[in-house]
């Protein structure tokens, strides 16, 4: 069970099972047999494709980064244009949050190289980030449900 969770986590983060920050808990690290993932390996297949697309194996080239820069600029433009669409109303907020989250993840993962680096950086950074977000949400909730004493 623990191994399955670890495998999924590793694949999601894009790390192979035989490297980086890892406490060895078996005498030999055997490679994963072919079809040990759920749904007969489709998860692994799509993960592999994703990893290849995002250059998991090596460093990005300047051209790669330039493309990412264009993507970021495009998202910013979309945000700007959507801002003026009145008919969206309240839907604006989740859309903006999603778009910004995309920009955030792209900068963190690629520009800051978190995608390619040791998992410890991811843990250490997202501990702080997630905590900040959760606390902000709780604080807003507390103020939102505050009763008005008349």
């Amino acid at each position: 069970m623990k191994k399955l969770f670890r495998n999924i986590l590793n694949q999601f983060l894009g790390h192979t099972t035989d490297g980086y920050f890892r406490v060895p808990d078996t005498a030999q690290d055997l490679p994963n047999p072919k079809n040990d993932t759920p749904w007969a390996g489709t998860l692994k297949l799509s993960m592999d494709k994703f990893n290849k697309l995002t250059r998991k194996d090596g460093h990005g080239s300047p051209g790669f980064y330039a493309i990412i820069g264009i993507v970021l600029a495009a998202i910013t433009l979309v945000e700007f244009l959507i801002f003026y669409v009145e008919s969206l109303g309240v839907l604006l907020i989740p859309i903006m949050l999603v778009l910004s989250l995309m920009k955030f993840v792209i900068v963190v993962a690629f520009f800051m190289h978190l995608r390619f680096d040791n998992r410890v950086f991811t843990i250490v950074f997202f501990a702080g980030f997630v905590l900040a977000v959760v606390i902000a949400i709780i604080l807003l909730l507390v103020f939102a449900i505050k009763p008005v004493f008349s």
């Binding site: 910013t76 903006m96 900068v107 900040a132």
Partner: protein, 267 residues
């Protein structure tokens, strides 16, 4: 930093300084998170004065956001080139990053003084208080980053340490002087800082230059070790710079895109 950290014992294989920078960035998330939370909690609570929906300029800020994003791109290109061995191109991209960062600061300074002319200062209302502290401290982070990057970029263009330090010192003083001038320009935003402070800041820059003259004498050798060390340091600066960028992404979204139509309290 000392080399005890570079001895054989390294449990994860990552560099100590890089690890510490990531921990620092995680911690800085809480710092900005507190300011942003305060801003969000205090939305729609200003009793008077210019409101966000009257004063925020979305197109202008979109441009400045774009500038900061492009500076991030320049930063990652700089690191990429340096890591590939193209030191000189890397230095120029570092300078480009700093320059774009300065342009962003220019937009911020313009926005601050423009708001002040329109009657919004930190003392005017709660929107002023929360907005200026949040973006002000972000701007402070950007400024620190610009200084770091400029020193880094210039520091390799000179062959000897002496020239490097002289250039570092004078660049530092120029940047500090510019900061001083920026401060005089935004005096009405921060009314308690008298102009004497601004000029003292310039004076500090001068003192810094003189001080650095004492700091150096002979030359150093370019070798693999020091190149690797500089690479590592540029990577650290890069991480810091990207973090400042993503904080701005959050601020831009939350303050400008989502909360742009805030106004008077709903009674």
């Amino acid at each position: 930093m000392s080399t005890v950290s570079e001895e054989h014992v390294n449990s994860t294989g990552v560099d100590n300084k890089k690890l510490m920078m990531w921990i620092f960035l995680g911690s800085d998330c809480l710092f900005f998170g507190s300011f942003i939370s305060t801003y969000l909690v205090y939305r729609n609570r200003s009793l008077s004065g210019p409101y966000p929906n009257e004063i925020l300029d979305i197109p202008l800020t979109t441009v400045s956001t774009f500038v900061l994003l492009m500076s991030s791109l320049a930063m990652v290109l700089a690191v990429s080139y340096v890591q590939r061995g193209s030191q000189v191109i890397g230095r120029y991209w570092t300078l480009a990053t700093a320059l774009l960062g300065l342009v962003f600061m220019g937009f911020q300074v313009y926005e601050f003084s423009h708001f002040a002319h329109l009657g919004l200062t930190p003392r005017t209302n709660i929107f002023g208080s929360t907005f200026f502290t949040m973006t002000g401290f972000h701007g402070g982070h950007v400024t620190f980053g610009v200084i770091w990057l400029v020193i880094f970029a210039i520091s390799r263009l000179a062959e000897t340490l002496k020239q490097k330090m002289l250039i570092v010192g004078s660049v530092l003083s120029v940047v500090i002087a510019m900061t001083g001038l920026m401060m005089t320009h935004t005096l009405d935003v921060i009314p308690h800082i008298p102009s004497i402070v601004a000029y003292s800041v310039f004076g500090v820059g001068l003192l810094g230059t003189i001080g650095t003259l004492f700091l150096l004498k002979s030359s150093d050798n370019q070798n693999i070790e020091s190149i690797k060390k500089e690479e590592g340091n540029l990577e650290l600066a890069g991480l810091y710079w990207h973090f400042v960028d993503i904080v701005w992404i959050v601020i831009f979204t939350v303050v400008y895109l989502i909360s742009a139509n805030d106004g008077a309290p709903l009674l």
